[in-house]
């Protein structure tokens, strides 16, 4: 099991950042690994699930089911891939009119060969880069969509 945390100050209000996080349909706006999201409810809540096709290490594009494990409006969201055990856990809090964000990416392998392979592929450095990229991309997406602030 490995995980990394990334913290960043994002120059946007919490509500704007949150708007990108709590709407799976918008994930492709800022998460370059997201190819497509289907089956997401209009408003997600704890226990909601949806299907997401992503780019994985070594060029694979698996389509897997994600579940919302934690949800605290404007503050916390945790999504987990039901196939690989990969998760992303976001916290947001306001900091001087901007957003202090902390994201933890990790893999908690579940049984099965595929999960073990996924876990092996998600090395710490891979996760670290993914986390950094996710934050950078969020920033960029927010700059592109000033209206959402």
């Amino acid at each position: 099991m490995s995980s990394v945390k990334e913290r960043a100050l994002i120059e946007a209000p919490v509500s704007a950042v949150w708007a990108l996080l709590d709407d799976p349909a918008r994930y492709s706006e800022w998460n370059e690994d997201t190819i497509a999201v289907t089956g997401a409810p209009t408003k997600i809540e704890r226990g909601s699930s949806f299907t997401m096709t992503t780019r994985s290490p070594f060029g694979m594009q698996p389509t897997t089911q994600f579940v919302v494990e934690e949800l605290d409006d404007l503050h916390e969201i945790k999504l987990r891939c039901q196939t690989s055990g990969f998760y992303s856990h976001w916290f947001l809090t306001e900091a001087q009119g901007q957003t202090f964000a902390e994201v933890e990416l990790g893999v908690e392998p579940i049984a099965g060969l595929r999960a073990r392979v996924t876990s092996a592929m998600h090395t710490k450095s891979y996760l670290r880069r993914s986390a950094e990229t996710a934050v950078d991309n969020l920033r960029r997406a927010l700059k592109r969509t000033p209206a959402s602030r």
Partner: protein
């Protein structure tokens, strides 16, 4: 009507019921029957009666027994006359030794030594009197047996201590437990013995021989009482080991002068008188001992004889001469009179015959037998001249002849101690010997100033006389002496090194006022009582000073006592009431006391327009004060408090501490003296108000220890406090307790306050106390309990209106989360605190919130925002609160150091913070700041500063019990051991620092400790362990978001992997470090990643280039040790492929380490070169 049964006697003094037949009260020692059987009751009190005083006194009880047989055989009138005569005779011994007969009751006599007049040796006088009484009893029994066939037994009991002296009814007497115990000791004594209590034994054990008794079970005493039986008086006092070891300090010139005078008489063959003059205890006898021991050790020692003039008793004229003769002719106390005479006769005759004066020998021996109390054999009666003058001349002539003869054999040093107590005859004899002896004689006379009152011209105007005046030692000399007297710690060498109880040295030195005897006695008391409390006065010193006070005029003494209530310094105006009461001329009396060297005018005055004086010796003040009854002290303290308040006027705030001290003393004394409850309540209320005000004033000036003491004193006035007072003052006490590092005390007192406010349902106070307790627990490293307290406080207030208590709770919680690396929570709480602070216009709280923002932003690599917030934090703190500025500057300094590598800026911030922390008494921050400055000094290899900082930080943390903060100095100590090449010790310190850092939630310190541990393991050659520790360090970075530090740790890991030959992993790590560094633009990271890149590059040229780049960057940053390490890394990597180049690089690194003051590191590198 009565039943005829014997009534239990009731004490007329204290009302206690006593056993039938008792003569003295078992409670207070007062007589239970009227004087009647005894010969002379004590005279009634005269109009000029001695005042009521507390005094150190020795009480003697002597009881005759065994006259029942006489009563059966003799007429009652004859029995009465016999007892009367015997008691009179015994009473004479009391008076002979300077005591007073307090009373006779039946067959019992009570004597007092030390009241109304004290002598410096009252306990000794009392025991000598007791022994003399037993001797006198033997004589009386011989007569009684011869005349009536009867004899008595005598039991004597003696005890010393504090008594209350003064009038009881129309009689002056002493009262107290001391009296009662003396009576009980007498009752328990064996017939024909003198039994003494512990305090008497301690005061006299050097001059009296004792046998220890089994502790006595005395009536009225729960515990057995230690007791000793006096067996005999010693001619020469026993000197304890410490006395013999006392070094001679500050008297070198005088000792040299004395030696030169000994040489001079040897050359000139004539007598010389040297008088050493000085106050009691100033070192006259010590100087003499030094002279004697130097002379004894010399190649051709002179003859040395000595005598002492005793302070008591009559009929002991020429005592010192007798002592000299006893020594010369080896006459012992235990010799029979016949043998003693024979020794004297043979000695004098032989001595004078040697110089051709056969006839004079016998005659002179007979004359000299007189001062020795010897009677020649009856067939050779002494021709005593009826004319005293002629008799004296004959005696002087005999003494001169003998002294001259001794001195003719070889130069004679004749030392006479305490000549201020000498009888007139002895002084004349000294003068006679100085004038008329024709042989090399040095008369060394030791005396106090009093001699000059009797003989103003002593030794003056004569060519063969010298006076050496001994002044008190200087402060430095006294400290040196006290330090030398204190025992050395085990393992310390004889000549120096640490001493036990070193902390009390300055205190003892100051209190002794340069008087070596006082210093020595104080040290002896500390050692005997195994205490570090230097305030209490040894009984010996007390007695000496009490005697000095008693020698003063009654009104002078009264004035001095009143002045003692004011303090070591006092104002003339404060004595006006006493002067008026006593009808004395204040100015003249003060002048007289100044003349007597007891007082001195002060340079300035704390009260405008009031002339100020000071006691020349603090102990004189203490003794004068101790003699006043508590009720009188109480009244006078109130008067002094009122006086200061009136005179201070508008400045009374500045003097509130002094005022509070007087009112508090008055209240305490009033309680002890049994003041009536209304008056006491009024005093206590006055004391409470002034103590609280004094505490507030001290706290405002950051005099935290003083403030703590004031609040503590206020809380001790529990009788006049209600719960609200206790809670209010207690909370303030806790505040200052935390500031001075007394965490447990603070938590304890706040928890009590919490209960009160909870009962009052005062939510704001309850919440605020939770915050305070949380902060205190955080200081102790109890993170969980600390968070719980903050949370409880927040829960109480978060749904209510904005308030400062809530702001503080958020900011404390934010601070805790920031330190533990919970950055998200730290930001969350800071945001809450900042918003509330801005709404409430609370600059201090806003400062703290900005500080936390800055620190967290710095951690995540946003230096610009970090600096912006930290500078704002400092600015707000400077405007609002000095104490807060410490925290703000510390945070700014840390950011500059770690995130920006701006070491000059960091040093400046830390130094300013340290200065303010000193000013405001913030000890926990001082621990951290010393260590932070030490860490900066490590970067520049300024080892002296590192050592100083480590020592200061550790000492403070240990002294104040700030154990959690020991992680800071531990890192420093580890670095110093690393520098010295002591890998094991270094690792031990780093591991402990890491453990403590984790325990108290200081993630940055825990990281630093692990990083240094890895460096140490790497340098010791254990690369696997080094890598493991770096992995752990990176876990901390991950957990706490220490991105800047993580770059350095990943780079270090890359180097370790490269050195281990794990090239691929090393390169991956180096790339990771470089990638992170490029995101952060972090100067230290850039140097570290260049080093990692150089260490892992496959191409030798690229490797060399990157290592050179790293060296340049490290040097630009001011980190020469890291630059030198680059050479080591490169050298180690080249060892296999290019040993010559590797050797050159390592040799260069060794030279650099050498020049950086790290020779052990250099040696380690050279070992590698050689290997």
């Amino acid at each position: 009507m009565s039943c005829g049964a014997e009534l239990a006697p009731i004490c007329p003094s204290c009302g206690a019921e006593n056993p039938s037949g008792a003569k003295f009260c078992i409670e207070c020692g007062s007589p239970l029957t009227d004087a009647g059987a005894g010969p002379e009751p004590r005279p009634e009190i005269a109009a000029e009666a001695p005042p009521e005083e507390r005094r150190q006194a020795t009480v003697l009880f002597a009881d005759l027994s065994g006259y029942t047989a006489a009563a059966e055989r003799m007429d009652p009138e004859a029995v009465k006359a016999l007892v009367d005569r015997t008691l009179r005779r015994l009473g004479e011994e009391i008076e002979r030794f300077g005591g007073t007969i307090d009373k006779f009751i039946g067959d019992n006599v009570m004597g007092v030594f030390g009241a109304p007049i004290a002598h410096e040796d009252d306990p000794e006088r009392a025991v000598r009197a007791g022994l003399a009484m037993q001797e006198a009893m033997e004589g009386a029994n011989r007569q009684g047996q011869a005349r009536h066939g009867v004899s008595f037994s005598l039991r004597v009991g003696i005890n010393s201590g504090e008594v209350m002296a003064g009038a009881v009814g129309d009689r002056y007497t002493v009262m107290g437990d001391v009296v009662n115990v003396a009576a009980r000791l007498q009752a328990a004594a064996r017939p024909e013995t003198v039994t003494v209590g512990e305090s008497t034994y301690r005061a006299t054990r050097e001059v009296i021989s004792y046998e220890r008794l089994e502790p006595l079970q005395l009536k009225g005493k729960e515990e057995p009482v230690p007791a000793w039986e006096a067996t005999r008086a010693l001619t020469e006092p026993r000197r304890g080991i410490s006395r013999a070891r006392t070094p001679l300090i500050g008297r070198e010139e005088e000792a040299s002068l004395l030696l030169s005078l000994v040489e001079r008489i040897g050359h000139e063959g004539r007598p010389h008188l040297v008088t050493v003059i000085g106050q009691a205890g100033v070192g006259k006898s010590r100087l003499l001992r030094e002279l004697v021991s130097t002379l004894i050790d010399s190649d051709d020692p002179p003859t040395i004889r000595s005598g002492q003039c005793p302070p008591y008793g009559s009929g002991i004229a020429y005592w010192a001469l007798a002592e000299v003769l006893n020594q010369e002719f080896e006459i012992l106390d235990t010799d029979s009179p016949e043998l003693a005479w024979e020794k004297l006769r043979a000695g004098v005759t032989g001595l004078l015959e040697e110089f051709g004066d056969r006839e004079a020998g016998e005659r002179n021996a007979r004359l000299l037998a007189i001062p020795l109390g010897l009677e020649p054999a009856e067939e050779e009666p002494t021709q005593v001249d009826a004319d005293p003058q002629r008799m004296r001349e004959a005696l002087f002539s005999a003494a001169r002849a003998v002294v001259e003869a001794i001195a003719r054999r070889r130069p004679l040093v004749l030392a006479i101690d305490d000549i201020h107590w000498a009888d007139e005859g002895m002084l004349d004899l000294i003068d006679h010997l100085t004038r008329w002896v024709r042989a090399p004689l040095l008369l060394v006379c030791l005396t106090r100033d009093e001699l000059l009152e009797r003989r103003p011209g002593w030794g003056g105007g004569r060519r063969n006389a010298t006076t050496i005046s001994l002044e008190p030692l200087t402060a430095d000399e006294t400290r040196e002496l006290v330090a030398a007297l204190m025992p050395k710690r085990p393992g310390a060498d004889e000549d120096g090194g640490p001493i036990e109880g070193g902390d009390v040295v300055p205190q003892v030195a100051e209190r002794s006022g340069g008087n070596p005897l006082f210093a020595e006695e104080m040290v002896n008391r500390l050692l005997e009582e195994d205490t570090v409390e230097a305030e209490a006065l040894p009984t010996t010193v007390q007695a000496l000073l009490a005697a000095r006070l008693d020698s003063l005029d009654r009104l002078e003494r009264r004035l001095l006592q009143s002045a003692s209530v004011v303090g070591q310094t006092f104002w003339e105006g404060a004595l006006a009431a006493t002067a008026a009461e006593e009808g004395l001329d204040l100015g003249r009396t003060l002048a007289a006391l100044e003349e007597k060297d007891l007082l001195a005018p002060s340079e300035g005055s704390r009260l405008t327009g009031e002339r100020e004086y000071a006691f020349k010796h603090v102990l004189i003040r203490d003794v004068a004060y101790s003699m006043l009854p508590k009720s009188v002290r109480c009244r006078k303290h109130v008067e002094v408090g009122d006086f200061i308040r009136d005179r201070a006027g508008e400045r009374s705030d500045a003097l509130i501490g002094l005022i509070a001290e007087h009112f508090a003393r008055a209240a305490a004394l009033g309680s002890e003296a049994g003041l009536d409850s209304d008056a006491l309540a009024q005093l206590q209320m006055q004391a409470l108000e002034s103590l609280e005000a004094a505490g507030d004033a001290a706290a405002a000036l950051y005099s935290n220890a003083e403030a703590f003491d004031r609040y503590t004193a206020a809380l001790e006035l529990s009788e006049s406090l209600d719960d609200a007072d206790v809670a209010r003052i207690g909370e303030k006490q806790g505040d200052v307790a935390l500031r001075i590092g007394r965490v447990d005390a603070a938590v304890s007192v706040w928890e009590r306050c919490l209960k009160y406010h909870r009962a009052q349902e005062d939510l704001a106070r309850v919440a605020d106390l939770h915050r305070k307790i949380g902060a205190a627990l955080w200081h102790k490293g109890e993170r969980r309990a600390s968070i719980d307290n903050y949370q409880r406080g927040i829960d109480l207030l978060k749904d209510g209106p904005p308030c400062i208590e809530l702001v503080r709770l958020y900011e404390e919680a934010a601070s805790l989360y920031m330190h533990t690396g919970d950055n998200m929570l730290a930001i969350y709480a800071s945001e809450k605190a900042l918003r509330l602070a801005e709404r409430l216009d609370e600059a201090r709280a806003a400062s703290r919130a900005h500080g936390i923002f800055g620190r967290v932003f710095g951690r995540i690599g946003d230096s610009e925002k970090a600096r912006e917030n930290l500078e704002r934090s400092v600015a707000l703190a400077r405007d609002s609160d000095r104490a807060e500025a410490v925290r703000a500057l510390l945070t700014l300094g840390y950011h500059l150091e770690v995130s920006e590598a701006d070491y000059a800026g960091a040093t400046e911030a830390y130094r300013e913070a340290l200065e303010i922390a000193h000013e405001v008494g913030d000890l926990p921050s001082q621990v951290e700041l010393h260590a932070s400055l030490g860490q900066l000094a490590v970067e520049s290899a300024e080892w002296e500063e590192v050592e100083r900082a480590a020592e200061a930080s550790a000492r403070l943390a240990e002294r104040e019990g700030l154990h959690g903060k020991l992680c800071f100095p531990d890192v420093m100590r580890g670095v110093l051991s690393w520098r010295d090449g002591d890998w094991e010790d270094a690792a031990k310190h780093f591991r402990r620092a890491h453990e403590l850092g984790e325990q108290v939630g200081r993630s940055e310190v825990a990281f630093t400790a692990l990083h240094w541990l890895a460096i140490t393991l790497r340098d010791s050659g254990d690369l696997a362990a080094a890598e493991a520790e770096l992995t752990k360090a990176l876990d901390i970075c991950e957990r706490a978001g220490l991105i800047a530090q993580s770059v350095e740790a990943i780079s270090a890991r890359a180097v370790v992997l490269a050195l281990s030959g794990r090239g691929e992993q090393a390169r991956a790590a180096a790339e990771e470090a470089e990638r992170l560094s490029s995101r952060l633009h972090y100067p230290v990271g850039e140097a570290a990643t260049a080093e990692a890149a150089g260490a892992t590059a496959a191409d030798p040229a690229e490797s060399a280039a990157r290592i050179d780049e790293a060296r340049r960057r490290w040097l630009e940053l001011g980190r020469p040790l890291d630059a030198s390490r680059c050479l080591v890394v490169r050298g180690r990597l080249l060892l296999a492929d290019d040993p010559e180049a590797a050797s050159d690089l390592l040799a260069a690194a060794a030279d650099e380490y050498e020049s950086l003051g790290a020779p052990a590191l250099a040696a380690r590198v050279r070992e590698r070169v050689e290997a």
